[in-house]
């Protein structure tokens, strides 16, 4: 398991990684969201021994802390992982895997560039440049959590506060757009 934190600095992540032995990488420029077309976290990509993607980005959780809010339980996905590791069983066909994520559109790519520029400017102490580009990023990708929610802690907002819940409602009203597989439902 390789964990990649879409966070600004190692210090943001440390509280969550105590006692964890797996590699934890830090991606302040959100390179991963551009390379894999990721629009929210947590998301899990299954990659085989030959570096092929066998199950693309999908909503998944390691426990049920947020299950009531998200409607996604952790168990069914963990069961699928066990079948893959033990028996090589894949839960999705190659054709379905190709259809599952959907490419970023031009605005979503540009939003990532503005976000990256803003994060850099902020780190350099140029808050007015940072704010301008965070705002532009949010305009270009209004339903992308890796932009809209990720910028809250970088602009003095609260990613668990009212601004987030307002965004969440906006996102739901837009039809809950998402790049990737939905959460795994329990087997019937």
């Amino acid at each position: 398991m390789i964990a990649v934190a879409l966070d600004d600095s190692a210090d943001d992540v440390r509280p969550w990684t105590e006692g964890i032995t797996m590699p934890v990488l830090i991606d302040p420029h959100h390179v991963l969201t551009e390379l894999y077309a990721i629009s929210n976290v947590p998301t899990v990509v299954w990659i085989d021994e030959h570096d092929n993607i066998v199950r693309p980005n999908g909503v998944a959780f390691s426990n049920d802390m947020f299950a009531e809010f998200t409607g996604v339980e952790s168990g069914p996905h963990l069961d699928l992982i066990r079948s893959w590791v033990r028996d090589g069983e894949l839960p999705i066909s190659t054709d379905d895997a190709r259809e599952a994520v959907g490419d970023l559109d031009d605005d979503e790519v540009l939003a990532r560039l503005h976000f990256r520029l803003a994060a850099h400017a902020r780190r350099e102490g140029d808050d007015s440049t940072a704010r301008r580009h965070f705002e532009r990023a949010a305009e270009l990708a209004p339903h992308d959590f890796t932009i809209r929610r990720a910028l809250l802690p970088l602009t003095g907002g609260d990613p668990f506060g009212q601004e987030f819940f307002d965004f969440y409602t906006e996102w739901q009203e837009a039809g809950s757009p998402y790049h990737g597989l939905p959460g795994t439902p329990p087997p019937e």
Partner: protein
């Protein structure tokens, strides 16, 4: 010459002049700026060359515009001339490979101690790549 910061895979500082939203550098400095070199056959890195039909379109007078070169490589760019910052997209081709050919794009990222890691390190093993965040 004043410095401009280019943010792509990594953060690079180069000598450049900014004219509105044009970032002008000597063509000889392209490898420092974007990792690609301008040759008669096109924009080249290692053994790979991306042909450029009319190289004069990359130039403003005797220098190249970084954003135009990035565009020729299929990489959109955002230029903030006042802040002297340029942000350049990763090659869209890599993402399309992930989505269409289902080949996992490589990346190089630091762990919490600052040590760099690439996806290839774990080749030969089944992997779960988990993106998460504190927010």
């Amino acid at each position: 010459m004043p410095r401009v910061t280019i943010i792509g895979y990594d953060v690079r500082n180069i000598d450049a002049d900014v004219d509105d939203d044009q970032v002008l550098i000597d063509a000889a400095h392209l490898p420092d700026a974007l990792g690609w070199e301008l040759k008669p056959e096109g924009l080249c890195r290692d053994d790979v060359c991306v042909p450029v039909r009319d190289q004069s379109t990359l130039f403003v007078d005797d220098r190249v515009d970084v954003a135009r070169v990035a565009a020729a490589l299929g990489r959109p760019a955002v230029v903030d001339g006042d802040a002297r910052l340029v942000s350049v997209a990763l090659p869209a081709e890599q993402r399309r490979q992930a989505l269409d050919a289902l080949v996992a794009p490589s990346f190089e990222l630091a762990d919490l101690d600052g040590t760099l890691h690439q996806l290839e390190e774990w080749r030969g093993r089944k992997k779960l790549l988990v993106a998460f965040a504190s927010w």
